[in-house]
């Protein structure tokens, strides 16, 4: 453990990636994530074997990631919403070819060019695959700079473990906010060797020819491939689901929120507890796989749920699927780059409590 430093979320993520052995970064400028490529451009040339390259587009950047990951490297790219949309074709290929990499999305307001302010309106895109085809990505949603650091390092291990891209979904606030952060000493877990990587082959070298590829022209073979991918996702659902629960045991009302919104919801929860309303908080840390278990458990005793998001309501669908009609699930969201306030969330719960009487 190093000493505490004051770091911007974007810079902390970049440094955490380098600590975790990421030596290749390909990116393209877009607000509000520019400190990640800027930091990488400064640091990586000073690290042995490090290479930062500014690509000509987000499309090129994600395809450079494909090439570097296919060659066996730990590699990362980052962008913000419109740029992530551009990367989706490449992400789909990376999933299809079973390559590990880490992608950061500092989400901003949409649709279209939208705004440069924080948002969470890429939840559907992140958790339903995002590009074409039938696939999933592990989606990690930090709610502090410290957690962003820890999840970034974890993301590289998970990507290698499953040979699948891992998405870090932050928002403009997580990226831009400065907080004290302690850089943990990275210890690489035992991971399978990348014997599948394209590094040069000749007959009798001890492995088959590496073919990094997502094309399976025979429908039966493609179906088998997709079933294999989904068997992998089933393991992820079993083993990689992460969340944080606070005061849910006796809660009448449970707020479900992630990232920046969860911090505001926590303040609202404390305020409401002071006012005598028993409120709890469930904060999904993995958005996919979605933490159904704590929500199902809370649905046994809670009167109702409130999902709070910086969107018009996307994660609320997953909360409703988990609750499965047992209890009402309300939604409160701000959008366009507007961050909900503690007061707004307090009012929502107070209104729900009033209606229940």
């Amino acid at each position: 453990m190093g000493q505490k430093m004051l770091m911007k979320g974007n810079e902390a993520i970049a440094e955490a990636a380098i600590q975790a052995g990421c030596r290749f970064f390909f990116g393209y400028p877009i607000t509000p994530q520019n400190q990640i490529p800027e930091y990488m451009s400064k640091r990586l040339p000073k690290v042995e074997g490090g290479c930062f390259l500014q690509a000509e587009s987000e499309v090129a950047a994600i395809n450079m990631v494909y090439g570097a990951a296919g060659a066996g490297a730990r590699v990362m790219t980052s962008s913000s919403s419109p740029g992530i949309s551009l990367k989706q074709e490449g992400i789909s290929y990376i999933v299809g070819a079973e390559l590990p990499c880490v992608i950061v999305n500092m989400v901003r307001g949409g649709p279209g060019l939208g705004s440069i302010q924080p948002a969470q309106s890429d939840y559907y895109q992140s958790t339903r695959g995002g590009g074409h085809g039938d696939y999933r990505m592990l989606v990690l949603a930090p709610s502090s700079v410290q957690e962003a650091v820890e999840l970034t390092q974890k993301a590289f291990d998970l990507a290698d473990k499953y040979r699948n891209p891992v998405l870090i979904m932050g928002d403009g606030l997580i990226g831009q906010m400065m907080e004290p952060v302690e850089m943990p000493e990275y210890v690489k877990p035992e991971l399978p060797e990348k014997t599948w990587a394209a590094t040069g082959w000749k007959p009798g070298c001890g492995r088959d020819r590496a073919i990094i590829n997502s094309l399976y022209i025979d429908p039966n073979v493609l179906e088998q491939h997709n079933r294999k991918l989904f068997a992998k996702y089933a393991v992820m659902e079993q083993e990689e689901c992460r969340w944080q629960e606070e005061m849910t045991d006796d809660a009448d009302y449970v707020i479900v929120a992630y990232g920046t919104t969860a911090r505001i919801a926590r303040s609202a929860m404390r305020k409401l507890r002071e006012n005598g309303i028993k409120v709890g908080l469930i904060r999904p840390i993995t958005l996919w796989p979605f933490p159904n278990a704590p929500i199902q458990k809370a649905a046994e005793h809670a009167k109702a749920f409130l999902t709070v998001e910086m969107s018009m309501g996307q994660m609320v669908d997953d909360v409703r699927l988990a609750v499965n009609g047992k209890k009402p699930v309300e939604f409160y969201g701000r959008t366009g780059g507007i961050v909900p306030t503690v007061r707004e969330i307090v009012e929502q719960i107070e209104n729900m409590a009033k209606e229940a009487k």
Partner: protein, 245 residues
């Protein structure tokens, strides 16, 4: 008895899927022979395109990557930057390289990315069934220019080699043809040189190979080669467009 001719070990035994009379087979062989003769099979990594050569990973007997449409130069960049000792090449058609991948090829060239690009130009989209390409000649009939390509409506063909040769980044750019034996021998020389440049660390090398598509041009193989010679070469002059010392 002395062996005077044999199959290069840089091609697998998989039968090629190309149409009868298509010159992809010749170009595959030239690329494979060049890598073999330079003794870098164990270092070679090929990047296949989307288009007729999409299955190139089944034919080149080395580690291979399959790229998205147009993105082979970006994929090759990522791969080469990780392992600079690998000999990395892309094999791309004209729809892939000159249309959807125009940005990737231009920027790989201007970065002087130390890779070799084999650019097969047959003036048409072959795999998808003969649509108009950025390289389709004025007046040429395709399935999406059924009245002949009208430059007033959809512009002029792109001379990729001349365009890229204006950049400071590339080390070697040449256009060759495979319509007869003499030109095939010259094409072989250029392709080998393009790999040699990479091995010597000189930077970005591209060989544009004029190629025929009898199926989608609606011609016999012989007619197609004649059409290439009489129509494509005037539009796309052969020769070395750029070479650094």
């Amino acid at each position: 008895m002395a062996v005077v001719y044999e199959k290069t070990k840089m091609l697998t035994d998989k039968p090629l899927h190309y149409c009868p009379g298509c010159t992809h087979g010749i170009i595959h062989r030239l690329v494979a022979e060049a890598i073999d003769e330079l003794g870098v099979q164990d270092k070679a990594i090929g990047v296949a395109p989307v288009g007729c050569a999409v299955f190139a990973y089944d034919y080149f007997n080395c580690d291979m990557m399959e790229a998205a449409h147009g993105r082979a130069p970006a994929v090759a960049t990522g791969c080469k930057r990780v392992n600079p000792n690998n000999v990395v090449f892309t094999y791309q058609g004209d729809g892939d390289l000159a249309s959807i991948g125009a940005a990737e090829i231009t920027h790989a060239a201007t970065r002087g990315e130390n890779i070799t690009v084999i650019f097969v130009n047959n003036a048409i989209y072959g795999m998808t069934g003969g649509q108009m390409a950025p390289t389709t000649l004025p007046g040429q009939v395709t399935t999406t220019s059924p009245y002949g390509r009208d430059p007033n409506h959809c512009g002029y063909p792109i001379r990729v080699s001349e365009m890229l040769a204006t950049l400071d980044g590339p080390a070697y750019i040449a256009r060759v043809s495979v319509h007869d034996v003499k030109h095939i021998m010259e094409a072989k020389k250029a392709i080998k040189k393009a790999f040699q440049m990479q091995i010597e660390g000189k930077g970005f090398a591209l060989v544009e190979v004029l190629s025929s598509c009898p199926t989608n041009w609606g011609m016999t193989p012989q007619e197609a080669l004649k059409w290439l010679q009489e129509n494509m070469i005037p539009q796309y002059p052969l020769g070395v467009k750029k070479e650094v010392e």
